[in-house]
């Protein structure tokens, strides 16, 4: 075999091996991302909120701060509750004092109010997550069971993901100097427990469960109720579904 033939064979072999090395994970990723959630064997976490039940007590906000060591100051939240007051004139007022924990100021003209309600917010764990997309070092990532996480030991603190989130769900941790966000209490759900905010909700506004289990309560809720997600026009495919979402909510 001449040198030229040998080199040619070696190059072709290397190319074939490289192609196989690239093709296998690509095929696996393709299959994973296109399979509907309820067909997956592993748990695929889903979250739902029934805004018609929320009383705005904000116990969930306090529980989240306690469970996840979120700074107590009124500038950092993994979850919060907004109050909407819509008047007959069409004017809409929204507030969320300290995430809802400080209560809400009295409405000055209650006779003019046509409706008012509370809307809990948290990270939507988007299927097409812009914060994962923009992270320059890969510190933000999505787990196989559908939760978007931040690696605190790897984040460089550029804050690009905070800018990229259309829902305002991320904040920059003042002590750790890294991006931080709701992880659905991943350390709890891995042990079969529910997230802290779901655990303490007195009215059952917040629901959490395995979407890949058709018998679970959340699967039944999602299959039977008329649901909306926040800002669907963003194309992020949020995983937090809302029942009774008003058109004024953004």
């Amino acid at each position: 075999m001449s040198r030229r033939q040998f080199l040619k064979s070696a190059a072709l072999t290397a190319l074939a091996l490289a192609g196989r090395a690239v093709a296998a994970p690509l095929a696996a990723a393709e299959k994973f991302f296109h399979e509907p959630p309820w067909k997956r064997k592993k748990p695929y976490w889903a979250y739902a909120i029934d805004t018609t039940k929320c009383i705005g007590c904000a116990r969930c906000v306090g529980a989240c701060k306690t469970e996840n060591d979120v700074p107590r100051e009124p500038f950092y939240f993994r979850t919060w509750v907004e109050r909407y007051v819509i008047r007959r004139s069409g004017e809409t007022n929204v507030d969320s004092p300290n995430g809802g924990q400080d209560g809400y100021p009295p409405v000055r003209d209650p006779g003019e109010v046509s409706k008012s309600f509370f809307v809990p917010k948290l990270c939507n764990q988007c299927e097409h997550s812009p914060c994962v997309q923009v992270c320059p070092v890969g510190a933000s990532y999505k787990t196989e069971d559908g939760v978007v996480m931040v690696d605190r030991k790897y984040c460089i603190g550029c804050r690009y993901c905070v800018q990229a989130c259309p829902y305002g769900s991320r904040y920059f941790h003042p002590v750790l100097q890294v991006a931080d966000k709701c992880t659905l209490c991943y350390h709890r759900i891995q042990k079969g427990l529910r997230p802290a905010c779901v655990e303490v909700c007195p009215t059952g506004t917040r629901m959490f469960g395995d979407r890949s289990d058709p018998a679970s309560a959340i699967s039944k809720f999602m299959e039977t109720e008329r649901l909306m997600v926040l800002r669907p026009e963003m194309g992020t495919e949020p995983k937090v579904a809302y029942k009774g979402l008003d058109k004024e909510v953004r």
Partner: protein
């Protein structure tokens, strides 16, 4: 915990108007991120000015050729510092090289920056100065400088006409490669903002193009001012044909940048999507001074008027010099204001489109006004050092350089 952060946030809380998401009180990107696109813009613009002579054979601007390259290098060396100072964990910044996320526009910065610095700017400067470096390594009296030049030759001491001719061809090829690299370096900065769909103030395909043309304007204006200042400092006459040509290109860049910005503004106003109301309040309120007065009126309209009049009428040389200096200065300020309006404007209003947060520029601190001022002035000191080591006006009888008498 940065000192004073919680105090400043508590002080800012009462100044929130309307509703903002609770996590939006603190502005994530500060004045340092305003500076970063400004500095990289000066790099790209200065290099494009140098390419006029090298690639497009605009002979009139030859006196500014080497100065443009050195200016671009000085600002490029400082440009990453605002980013580095802004990071929560600057000691981890090398991760951007080791594990870049391929879907992130920001991840490519390190590679584009390194490529542009090593393969374009340094190579081009070295090739253009090689003859002088070899001569200085033999004749320089001050021995540390002589040693520096000897190292800088990298052992290549052949300065025969044939080798100089090869240098010239190589340098030209590098400039041709450097043009898209400069476009990429600064267009990508605009892309970082323009590709964020979460923010309607930033999300537009025109953003990289607007950034690029305003970068050209700021780079050309910067080199023009530095050239005039150096000629005055060295007490040598200014090459007026060169200055006139640079001013003409500055006018062109300002016109294109301004047209693109107005096109973007008119289209946004005409479309009047759901974010239009909040953006109208933004530009008529918080950004009125920095946008309409500083950026548009002083930074664009006045320079266009002054430079345009100089194209229509032949004013005396002294008047032309004054007009060029004033226009370049206003243009530089206007483009800095444009960067401020983009970066800060996009963060002042809530993504809920219902309210505004506030921003107070602190004097002290890692991200304060003093730090920003130091980072703005630092490239000029680097440039001074470069001019001391590699004076662009020393031509030593080089065949190519001898065609022009001054720097």
């Amino acid at each position: 915990m940065p000192a004073g952060l919680l105090e400043s946030l508590r002080a800012a809380l009462p100044h929130v108007t309307g509703f903002i998401y609770p996590n939006e009180l603190e502005l994530q990107w500060s004045v340092l991120i305003v500076l970063y696109p400004y500095l990289t813009g000066l790099v790209a613009g200065a290099f494009i000015l140098a390419s006029l002579e090298r690639v497009f054979n605009v002979a009139a601007v030859k006196p500014t050729y080497r100065l443009s390259l050195l200016t671009a290098l000085a600002f490029l060396l400082i440009a990453p510092l605002p980013l580095q100072a802004h990071l929560g964990h600057p000691e981890r910044s090398l991760e951007i090289f080791m594990t870049p996320n391929t879907s992130s526009a920001m991840a490519m910065f390190g590679f584009v920056y390194t490529w542009y610095l090593m393969a374009v700017l340094l190579m081009e400067i070295w090739l253009d100065y090689r003859r002088e470096i070899v001569e200085w390594s033999r004749t320089e009296a001050f021995w540390p400088k002589r040693l520096f030049y000897k190292v800088l030759t990298f052992g290549v001491t052949n300065i025969s006409p044939r080798s100089l001719e090869i240098d010239d061809k190589l340098g030209k090829a590098i400039t041709v490669i450097g043009l898209p690299s400069a476009v990429l370096l600064h267009g990508y900065v605009g892309f970082i903002f323009g590709s964020l769909k979460a923010n309607p103030w930033w999300s537009t395909p025109l953003m990289p193009v607007i950034f690029l043309f305003s970068a050209m304007a700021s780079g050309i204006a910067g080199v023009l001012l530095i050239y005039m200042f150096l000629c005055r400092l060295r007490r040598v006459p200014i090459d007026m044909p060169c200055l006139d040509t640079v001013a003409k290109y500055l006018l062109t860049a300002i016109i294109v940048a301004f047209s693109l910005e107005m096109l973007e503004t008119i289209q946004t106003a005409y479309e009047a999507k759901d974010h239009f109301d909040i953006i109208t309040l933004l530009v008529e309120g918080k950004l009125f001074i920095s946008m309409f007065i500083v950026q548009i009126a002083m930074g664009s309209l006045v320079p266009m008027l002054v430079l345009g009049l100089n194209q229509l009428f032949l004013f005396p040389e002294r008047v032309r010099r004054a007009c060029y200096a004033v226009s370049a200065g206003l243009s530089l300020i206007g483009i800095l204001a444009m960067r401020w309006n983009v970066v800060m404007g996009g963060q002042l209003f809530s993504k809920s489109l219902r309210g505004f947060t506030t921003y107070k520029l602190e004097l002290a601190g890692r991200e304060g006004l003093l730090a920003a001022a130091v980072l703005t002035v630092l490239p000029l000191f680097v440039l001074a050092a470069l001019l001391y080591l590699l004076p662009p006006w020393a031509h030593g009888g080089s065949a190519r350089a001898a065609k022009s008498p001054s720097a």
